[in-house]
Symmetry: C2
């Protein structure tokens, strides 16, 4: 099957053997996959991953020996697969299992392919009313909702999101659903219009007042964004970090101590509420789609997604196969 | 009056004019003062402070125009004095007032002197049963209790304190009072014995298991201590930073995101519960006293407090005056 393969920070279009589901796993045909900043960071060497890239997808189950009744079901998939035996899994922290695989990120081939495998328990059925183009956002939408799962949100407060890109838009939109007054730092006209559609107030960088927000989410993945986020925080405020990237960052920790700032690292989140929000149309992520390309054009897709200001680029393996056949 | 004066990172013994209390302030005769790591960091240039050093003290009110009935009262003092007019002060965040003075640290002469001034509302009476040698620990004990004020403590959990020095001992001792199982990293036999006296389990650095504590307090102020604290944290654990020091620290922020660690900066704390714990003898800090010197020997005291493994060094301005007179 066709896939986008990463090896030694070099991505390439490859033909590989189709995966075989292990016991308890399903074989899933990918209908659409989304490119995320983490994919781009993996290409830059954030983590020494080798294998098929991609972790945002919607697909359909084509084989499931332990649950044949689920064949044909349209699904999205929790990307972390814990060992199920360790104390972390037992404590409900499977996403933090030390032996976990993470689809397309750690020790498990990903979604930029025609087929993938995941444990059946990781696969959630997609309600009929949620189109593929919305369902493919379930994973990043769940990651946005992780903030609400980690923190008590004071809806009478004010939040700032730094970075109005792929993830920042969803973070701002979901925070606004809590009743919070949410602002987001924008650099581009298109980001501004999208935020307004989500009920979020766009702010230019120069309009962010020092020490004026109790909750700031850093979703830019840039040192300048982190500095702006820090500056915007009210004493005793909370800074949520949503970005993962390679390398170390130099920080004045004493400043965080003096101002008694809380920093919260925040990664993957809960899928079920993300699907509920999509089904109820509380969030429509489709305006974030920049482009939709066949999987065969996945390398172009990665380049496109890495352009400044780019939002979501989707890869379609079914279109890809046709295009691939046409090309041959 | 005699004092220890800091200017351009150089501390010296000086004679200066006695301070005059402003309206709403009291004049306090210092009975005992304690040397803290922050004093040593100020001498190293952590913050460009110029003036009389020192912020831990017990004293007695000798002049208070607005509260003459308090003259003679033995007191300890909240070191942060807010402006009382801004939105932070109004929000109960006077300790974070942007215009605050902080005794012996920011814009307000400190306690390594015969006399100091503070707003009357900052001065708390010391119960008779609390000796000067215990009362002088009120400020660092309050700083330790700030952790409990900031975080929900799960007493069924396990906490690790990294750095069993002046502040780390009080942090570990107060955490142990919550019912938590508390361990602390020790390098010296004396730290070990003190911790055991406070019901805390001493651990050698090599005995700290990776990812084994839900709550870790970094009180060593050293990069190696921070790395050890990070390593000891269970996923989704909380890292409390208690140290302030000069310079930036390089951190792998993505690791904190992936493990969803919460970092909490923690500074000054509530005085009233600290005094209650001292009065009820729930904590006896006096075993932490390494040395007690006349204020005239304060520069020796600063050197003594900076020695590896040193705990609390106290300065006595009353002994100091006598010794100074004897020397003249």
């Amino acid at each position: 099957m066709r896939c986008i393969w990463l090896q030694e920070q070099e991505s390439s279009l490859r033909d590989v053997d189709a995966p075989r589901p292990a016991e308890g796993e399903a074989l899933v045909r990918v209908r659409l996959a989304g490119i995320c900043a983490t994919d781009l960071e993996l290409c830059r060497g954030y983590y020494p991953y080798q294998g098929i890239l991609g972790h945002e997808f919607v697909g359909e189950i084509v084989e499931a020996a332990q649950a044949p009744e689920r064949v044909g079901q349209r699904v999205v998939g929790e990307i972390n697969a814990g060992c199920g035996r360790c104390s972390r899994c037992a404590a409900g922290l499977a996403r933090h299992c030390a032996e976990r695989s993470v689809l397309g990120i750690v020790g498990g081939d990903g979604a930029f392919a025609e087929l993938l495998t995941l444990p059946l328990q990781n696969l959630l059925g997609v309600p009929d009313e949620v189109a593929d183009e919305a369902a493919v956002f379930t994973e990043p939408l769940a990651a946005a909702l992780e903030i609400q799962q980690q923190l008590p949100i004071d809806p009478a407060g004010r939040a700032l999101v730094v970075g109005a890109g792929r993830l920042g838009q969803l973070v701002a939109a979901t925070l606004a659903l809590t009743g919070l007054e949410v602002c987001a730092v924008v650099r581009r006209q298109r980001q501004r219009a999208l935020l307004e559609g989500y009920g979020v107030t766009p702010l230019g960088e120069q309009d962010v007042e020092t020490a004026s927000f109790g909750l700031v989410v850093e979703a830019s993945g840039a040192a300048a964004g982190l500095a702006l986020a820090r500056r915007a925080l009210w004493p005793r405020g909370t800074l949520v970090l949503k970005s993962t990237y390679a390398g170390e960052t130099a920080i004045d920790l004493s400043g965080f101590v003096v101002d008694e700032i809380t920093i919260v690292g925040s990664r993957c989140g809960p899928f079920a509420p993300a699907l509920r929000l999509l089904a109820a149309e509380r969030i429509d992520p489709r305006p974030l789609i920049d482009d939709r390309l066949p999987l065969d054009a996945g390398l172009d897709g990665l380049r496109r997604a890495a352009e400044p200001g780019a939002l979501k680029v989707l890869l379609d393996p079914r279109a890809s196969t046709d295009a691939g056949q046409r090309a041959r």
